[in-house]
């Protein structure tokens, strides 16, 4: 069984990180250049880590499957990034951001990690502004803020509706500077297909060049994965099509524990599905809930009527009604489930009945159309392109969609997994959001991990490794891993069955959405645990991957990713079944209060479930890390 030591430093919460930084080992400057660090991923987490480590003098190699680091999925984040600057003088503080995040995560995150995140949040904004990130400003020239779900203060910094883009371009510019100075070697269109573990330590990766098909071995003193989230298990999600779980899944199969795989965030405000050709779902930023009001008709019979013809008295602004103090700004999991409930009652709008209105009439009355355009213009444009409807005139129709995965590889306080030398940053790890992430906190975490945590903690590990002691990429472990990757690739190409890869991805997505989506129960999860292995078997007998392995082959790329999803999906269902409670994004129908809210079981489940691979065909082992709350008292979340 894996040993899970969280390495949370002792002592009072707010001093832990400061003391830890003073206590951990350092690598002397002359030795830094003797260490090679592999960074997989160049989203916010990977770019900021690679840039910062190169500045410190480490030799960094950065791998991305994209054709440019600037295309990482972080680019798509719309709404904003949180930081406890208290520029609005509305009572914000590091403690309040910490507390909101812990509470928003339904008391399933590690206190010490979250507090550190809140502490570094203020440095992130300084760093980004200095890089030239054009955040929104007030007329006086100072930074502007907006509010996001789960908070009663305005602490979200934003750059129109393209905050992720601007932050990523900032991190990408730092990365570009590192490449120019020779500190970083960049490998684009290079997909990591395996982790190489030598004597129990992560010492390299196996990579396939997506243009030429060539498979190569890369050795390093430490490996950092910053490969993003795995929500595409569901096929339809707000993720980019290329987002995948391959890097973390292969690391799992090499011994890294996978923590809380079932914690999935379903975002309440996305554009509803229109047909089975659909390839992705588009998010309408949560920031819209600042000014938009969510409602459905009170009566089922009205659901297909033109919304303007439904008088105020026949509308149910259900979030404002049920949660008067947070209203439309209640956390995502709460808002999503509420939408599901009103649609289950038959009051959903649109032909499919799977939609609710997000209405701007009131704010247009207050701010004028131009005021609303100024704040959200690009979102209204996106909405128009996709639906052909003008949301300045008719309310938007929205529905929840898979958006973020709180689960990920287990890491300790140093962001190192249980495999020494393997670090995991950003959405790929599990560490900071518990069972539900608050809006605008993922960007904060990605940059916090990359700019302000890993530069310290990687040194603590490297100091224990003799400079120059890393194994050669020609050693047996590397060669074996390379052969295995090549065999899997050729096996996939040789099946030439009767269905394209997309067929399996869609079917897996349907199973996951139905049984492991917004609401889960024992019976459904058990059913999924029958259906997924059967689907996986069929995939390996009947999938048709055209073409060959020695050129660009997008079908082959997707096949490899779907093959991993077919395994990870099963683990998610297992985790959801084992967690006999409801918390945050994990809602087990058996465990709810009469009003439909999550019923946690702190006696039996106040822990992280970290799954350990036990070999093909064997049941994985469920390890646990208890969550010790020293500062906050666990209580029932209340947004009413």
């Amino acid at each position: 069984m894996a040993k899970l030591d969280s390495k949370v430093p002792p002592g009072e919460l707010s001093g832990k990180w400061r003391r830890h930084k003073a206590d951990i080992r350092l690598v002397n400057p002359a030795n830094k250049r003797k260490y090679e660090v592999i960074v997989v991923g160049a989203g916010l987490a990977g770019s900021s880590a690679a840039a910062s480590l190169a500045e410190m003098g480490y030799k960094v190699s950065c791998f991305v499957f994209h054709d440019s680091p600037r295309r990482a999925h972080s680019i798509a984040a719309q709404g904003g990034i949180n930081a406890a600057k208290n520029y609005q003088n509305d009572g914000d503080s590091v403690y309040r951001l910490f507390y909101d995040t812990i509470k928003g995560g339904d008391y399933r995150a590690r206190e010490a990690n979250v507090h550190r995140l809140a502490e570094v949040s203020v440095n992130i904004i300084d760093q980004c502004v200095a890089q030239g990130v054009p955040f929104a400003r007030e007329y006086g020239g100072l930074l502007d803020n907006r509010s996001f779900g789960g908070a009663q203060v305005s602490r979200t910094f934003y750059a129109r509706g393209q905050t992720g883009q601007q932050l990523l371009l900032g991190a990408y510019s730092a990365l570009s500077k590192g490449i120019a100075s020779g500190g970083i070697t960049l490998h684009t269109q290079s997909e990591m297909l395996d982790l190489v573990v030598v004597d129990g330590h992560a010492k390299g990766i196996i990579v396939r060049d997506l243009v030429t098909g060539t498979i190569t071995r890369h050795a390093a003193d430490a490996v950092i994965l910053a490969t993003g989230g795995y929500g595409n298990v569901f096929n339809l999600s707000t993720y980019a099509r290329g987002s995948n779980a391959t890097a973390i899944w292969r690391a799992y199969k090499r011994g890294a524990c996978f923590a809380n795989p079932c914690y999935t965030q379903i975002h309440p405000t996305c554009i509803p599905v229109t047909g089975d050709y659909q390839s992705k779902l588009t998010l309408m930023s949560e920031s819209l809930r600042n000014d938009g009001r969510i409602w459905v008709p009170k009566r089922k019979e009205d659901r297909l009527k033109p919304p303007a013809s439904i008088p105020e008295s026949d509308r149910d602004y259900y979030l404002e009604r049920i949660y008067p103090s947070f209203g439309n700004l209640c956390p995502r999991d709460v808002a999503s489930r509420a939408a599901k409930r009103v649609c289950d009652e038959g009051r959903g709008v649109g032909i499919s009945g799977l939609g609710v209105y997000l209405d701007f009439a009131e704010s247009i009355g207050r701010l004028g159309e131009s005021g609303v355009r100024e704040r959200y213009g690009n979102l209204f444009d996106i909405y128009k392109e996709i639906t052909n409807e003008n949301a300045y005139k008719v309310p938007m129709r929205i529905f929840p969609a898979v958006h973020y995965t709180m689960g990920g590889l287990w890491v300790d306080y140093n962001l190192m997994s249980n495999v020494p030398g393997l670090f995991v940053l950003g959405e790929a790890n599990f560490s900071d959001h518990g069972a539900n992430r608050l809006g605008a906190s993922a960007l904060m975490q990605g940059l916090g991990d990359g700019y302000f945590v890993i530069p310290y903690t990687v040194g603590d590990y490297l100091a224990s490794q003799k400079p120059g002691s890393r194994p050669s990429a020609d050693s047996q472990e590397f060669k074996t891993a390379e052969v295995e990757v090549a065999l899997t690739t050729s096996r996939m190409l040789s099946i030439k069955g009767k269905e394209p890869v997309s067929h399996y991805h869609k079917r897996l997505g349907q199973i996951m959405w139905q049984y492991c989506g917004m609401a889960r129960n024992k019976e459904g999860l058990e059913k999924a645990l029958q259906e997924i292995p059967a689907l996986r078997k069929e995939f390996w007998e009947n999938v048709h991957v055209p073409g060959s392995g020695d050129t660009m082959n997008q079908s082959l790329e997707r096949a490899g990713r779907v093959a991993d999803f077919l395994e990870l999906g099963e683990l998610m269902c297992r985790d959801a079944l084992a967690r006999e409670e409801s918390c945050g994004g994990h809602f087990r129908e058996e465990h709810q209060y009469p009003d439909g809210e999550c019923k946690r079981d702190d006696v039996n489940f106040a822990h992280v479930a970290a799954w350990e691979f036990a070999g093909e065909g064997k049941d994985p082992v469920r390890n646990t890390e208890p969550l010790n709350y020293e500062t906050v008292k666990m209580s029932v979340r209340n947004y009413k």
């Binding site: 054709d67 502004v129 054009p134 020239g141 100072l142 099509r241 047909g275 055209p546």
Partner: protein
């Protein structure tokens, strides 16, 4: 939600690899739904080709919401298709009707060689960025964010430029394959902000000379670039960059060569 489906023919450029000969091939696509995106229509086509034993059409895409800059189709001769201010992935089939023949090609620009079918290599853009598209600020050394106020109008204008998604449509649209709009967007974004001032001259000099060195053509003020740009980046930024460049050249003539400008 629409239910009336229709059929189109896509005439697609097929090319095995870099430097290989290519040709158009016609493929019928039936059951097209007006709410489908253009890329979803290609997905449907690709699944059909796969099952017929024909290699699917390679095309670049990722976010499918107009922000990552990966998609890069030339549809009926227009980079990113018929609509103004959107990327290929934001083109919907409601723009087409039954019986249409739609021609789909890769970008045709020397600095962006074809990798396969509709996929091109745009790494030249990354090289331009590496030449100077950054503010040199070490992690952890930044001053307090509100210590330097930036007038809202300036921040807004910088943001207008910063919205560039690096798709390369401006280059594909230009008969000279000029990258001026892309470079001007980056240079203006950083050059407008107070934080970007110390490196302003060397940035513009280095980025422009790298651009020239990579084989992008010169700008003859036709503004096909901004017309094709999915983010509506204004060609005013080109004029702004030209002024910046001239000033930087002038100033560098009276100073010892700025460090970095020789790169």
């Amino acid at each position: 939600m629409s239910t009336n489906t229709f059929s189109v023919t896509v005439r697609v450029w097929r090319q095995d690899g870099p430097g290989r000969p290519g040709a158009f091939a016609d493929y019928p696509v039936a059951g097209v739904n007006p709410d489908m995106s253009f890329l979803e229509m290609l997905d449907v086509l690709n699944d059909e080709l796969t099952m017929k034993g024909i290699e699917p059409v390679a095309f670049a895409h990722d976010c499918r919401e107009g922000i990552c800059g990966t998609c890069s189709l030339v549809i009926d001769g227009k980079p990113h298709g018929p609509h103004h201010g959107v990327a290929s992935c934001q083109t919907y089939m409601r723009s087409y009707k039954d019986g249409d023949v739609i021609v789909v090609e890769p970008y045709r620009a020397r600095p962006f060689p074809v990798v396969k079918d509709l996929v091109t290599d745009r790494s030249a853009f990354d090289k331009i960025q590496q030449a100077g598209g950054f503010i040199s600020i070490r992690t952890g050394s930044a001053p307090e964010a509100n210590s330097v106020p930036v007038p809202k109008e300036v921040a807004d204008l910088a943001m207008d430029a910063a919205q560039c998604i690096g798709c390369g449509a401006c280059v594909a649209a230009c008969k000279n394959s000029s990258a001026m709009l892309f470079v001007a967007a980056k240079v203006s974004h950083l050059g407008l902000l107070p934080q970007g001032q110390p490196e302003r001259d060397r940035r513009v000099l280095a980025m422009v000379s790298t651009m020239d060195g990579l084989g992008f053509g010169s700008c003859t003020n036709q503004y096909e670039c901004s017309a094709a740009c999915p983010k509506l980046i204004s060609h005013d930024f080109i004029a702004r960059m030209n002024r910046d460049y001239a000033k930087a050249v002038f100033r560098s003539a009276f100073k010892p060569v700025a460090a970095g400008a020789e790169a």
